[in-house]
């Protein structure tokens, strides 16, 4: 049985296809359209999924959309009533968007795919998140937590998953939302909502948690982790442009940071605010996790929703609550809703048996050696070709040791926001200057943002203080969703990936799921004694991660990368030039407030 899952019209439109409960392919539309966070109908991603599955749309048994549009529409209307007369502008903007597009999701899908009505299903937004987390996990039974900005009405759920069923027990409802709380502080610190949250997390270690008491004047965290926000401090439920009110700024003691500053001024006050809201978020998430254990009696926890991308909180859940094992879906945000919706229909709705766990995120497209050679020859690009993988890995590791920064393009691209060794920029983690070089000259992004380490799974404990997972599986680390301390004695050995507070957002590389990347790091370790490389996504700031060899070559050419590795083909920087018929687009990365809640 084939089921196609879709998520779009909010953030990161995506498609995923499953066959008998196994995810065959999944991808965000932005990878194909080249428009960062493309929210539109994921036509290209659907084509890719069907092509990978080797089927036509007629062979798909069900198409499942990841949320219930009319319930969300109801929430918008009732919120407009409740905030009358301040809600005029957001009502107008939201209604225009809904009347032009969002109310016609069913017609759009039926028309574009040419399927009968009976094949189209709608899941609940948070049930899609819960399903992505639980049905992809290796657990037969687990507590389930979902946390994001807002779905239809729901902003967070607590549930219990067992075999092929998920019982959602409790929900928190809009406008009380840990995701929107964090986004309000993202805006206050001068970053774009729905994108700058990573920046806020990266900025936090530069500050101290001095303003927790001020934040707690505006919210109440209950014992069960549920959150109540005093809405006189927040504006996202009635304003089209602001997340917070002047009263919020009064409590915090300073006006919001000017977004035009971007990374030009790392004011200590806002760093302290970033650290304070990070700590508050961790407190909420940990209380929710502990409550989930208490209510369900399960010490295994599955999480999804945008807040589950808060890798610092994820590690603390394992270390500081009764949760023993944690699984976070690799695409924990709304993109993952595509997989979740399909899994929900297959397992929960139709009662079909579970498939093995999703233990990797390599669900995207790939290009063969022949296709890459054809591209290079067609564009007259000089290259070196290595017949054996071992020869190739030898060249790569020698380059890294020589201080070169390389674009690594190999295998199927990753599902979710993290580059995990298929579309990555890699460098020597031992170099003290490497962080500045990659931030300034290659990624063109904020200087304070840290880089992640890729480390062999079996040697992670030598370099990092791994959380207390008795199974030793460390699922979130496979998807780069843990931030853990770098062992004190190893911090000088890997300075390029050690953040200012001594932490690292590590990716553990498994031999089974990515043998080539694993072998390259292993060889690097044999030569240097350090089986760790710096890994960051293969894109420039504002650009989606590269998908094709041509896009990889263009991004390589537009940056100061030294070398490009396309499978076993090596392109040196002397060959750089721009392939003009390949689309290249940079765009602002975040959303407006009206888009954030509607």
């Amino acid at each position: 049985m084939y089921i196609l899952g879709l998520s779009f019209y909010y953030h990161d439109g995506s498609a995923a296809i499953i066959k008998d409960g196994v995810v065959l392919a999944a991808g965000e539309e932005e990878r194909f359209s080249r428009r960062k966070h493309d929210p539109g109908f994921p036509g290209k991603a659907i084509d890719f999924c069907l092509k990978t599955a080797g089927i036509t749309i007629d062979q798909v048994d069900y198409v499942v959309f990841y949320e219930k549009p009319f319930v969300k529409f109801e929430r918008l209307l009732l919120t407009a009533f409740s905030t009358f007369p301040r809600s005029l502008k957001v009502f107008r903007e939201a209604m225009l968007a809904w009347m032009q597009k969002k109310l016609w999701v069913r017609s759009l899908i039926l028309k574009n795919l040419g399927i009968p009505k009976s094949k189209l299903l709608f899941a609940d937004h948070h049930m899609s998140h819960a399903s992505a987390a639980f049905f992809c996990s290796p657990f037969d039974e687990a507590a389930v937590l979902t946390l994001d900005g807002a779905g239809e009405w729901t902003t967070s759920t607590l549930g219990h998953g067992k075999d092929t069923k998920i019982d959602l027990l409790k929900e928190m409802r809009f406008p009380h939302s840990v995701g929107l709380l964090y986004s309000s502080f993202t805006a206050y610190c001068g970053f774009e909502v729905n994108e700058g949250e990573y920046k806020l997390m990266g900025m936090a270690p530069y500050g101290e948690p001095k303003y927790i008491d001020r934040i707690k004047k505006m919210i109440r965290i209950n014992d069960d982790g549920s959150l109540w926000q005093d809405m006189k401090y927040f504006a996202y439920h009635w304003s089209a442009t602001n997340s917070y009110t002047p009263a919020f700024e009064e409590v915090m003691g300073r006006p919001g940071r000017d977004p035009a500053l971007e990374d030009k001024s790392l004011d200590p006050f806002y760093c302290d605010v970033a650290m304070s809201i990070q700590r508050v978020t961790e407190e909420i998430v940990m209380r929710m996790a502990q409550n989930a254990v208490n209510v369900t009696g399960c010490k295994r926890l599955c999480m999804a929703g945008g807040v589950a991308l808060n890798s610092v909180a994820n590690a603390k859940i394992i270390n500081e609550t009764d949760v023993e094992e944690l699984y976070v879906h690799p695409a924990a945000g709304d993109d993952g809703g595509a997989v979740g919706a399909a899994m929900w229909a297959y397992n929960h709705l139709l009662g079909k048996p579970r498939a093995p766990a999703l233990d990797h995120a390599y669900l995207g497209s790939e290009y063969s050696h022949a296709e890459i050679e054809e591209f290079l020859s067609e564009h007259d690009i000089a290259f070196e070709k290595y017949d054996t993988d071992e020869e190739f890995f030898d060249v790569v590791t020698e380059d890294l040791i020589a201080g070169k920064v390389g674009g690594w393009f190999r295998g199927r691209f990753e599902w979710g926001p993290r580059a995990l060794g298929s579309r990555s920029i890699i460098a020597d983690a031992r170099s003290t200057e490497m962080k500045e070089i990659v931030n300034a000259k290659i990624k063109f992004r904020e200087a304070f943002r840290p880089f992640a380490p890729s480390v062999l799974h079996e040697r992670a404990g030598e370099y990092f203080e791994m959380p207390n997972d008795p199974s030793g599986e460390h699922w979130p680390a496979r998807f780069m969703l843990y931030v853990v301390p770098v062992r004190e004695e190893k911090r000088d050995a890997i300075p390029a990936i050690t953040h200012v507070d001594g932490s690292g957002r590590l990716q553990t590389v498994m031999k089974d799921s990515n043998p080539d990347y694993h072998r390259m790091i292993e060889l690097f370790g044999e030569k240097t004694g350090v089986p760790v490389v710096l890994n960051t996504s293969f894109n420039l700031k504002g650009e989606p991660i590269v998908e094709t060899p041509a896009q990889a070559f263009n991004t390589f050419s537009r940056s100061e990368m030294d070398v490009l590795y396309l499978q076993n083909y090596v392109v040196r920087k002397e060959a750089k030039k721009i392939i003009h018929d390949t689309p290249f687009m940079l765009r602002h990365e975040g959303d407006r407030v009206a888009e954030m809640v509607s």
Partner: protein, 70 residues
């Protein structure tokens, strides 16, 4: 040749759309909204409860339920 006309019509349509929605907001929505604000607290803004968790109420357990958008 038609591009400037299309652009003009798009902009004109947006202005008309926004104006109409403003009229609807003030004329049609206002009485309901005032009543709604007075007698309900759908957003739980008035007082902090000891828990903001409420029971999950969505019913979406059959194929027929799943075919609905609400």
């Amino acid at each position: 040749m038609f591009q400037p006309v299309t652009q003009f019509l798009e902009r004109f349509g947006n202005v008309v759309g926004r104006t109409l929605l403003s009229v609807i907001y003030w004329v049609a929505l206002a009485p309901i909204a005032v009543f709604y604000k007075l007698f309900t607290d759908a957003l739980m803004v008035k007082s902090p409860p000891s828990s903001t968790y409420c029971d999950w109420s969505q019913v979406n357990e059959t194929l027929d339920d799943a075919r609905r958008q609400d």
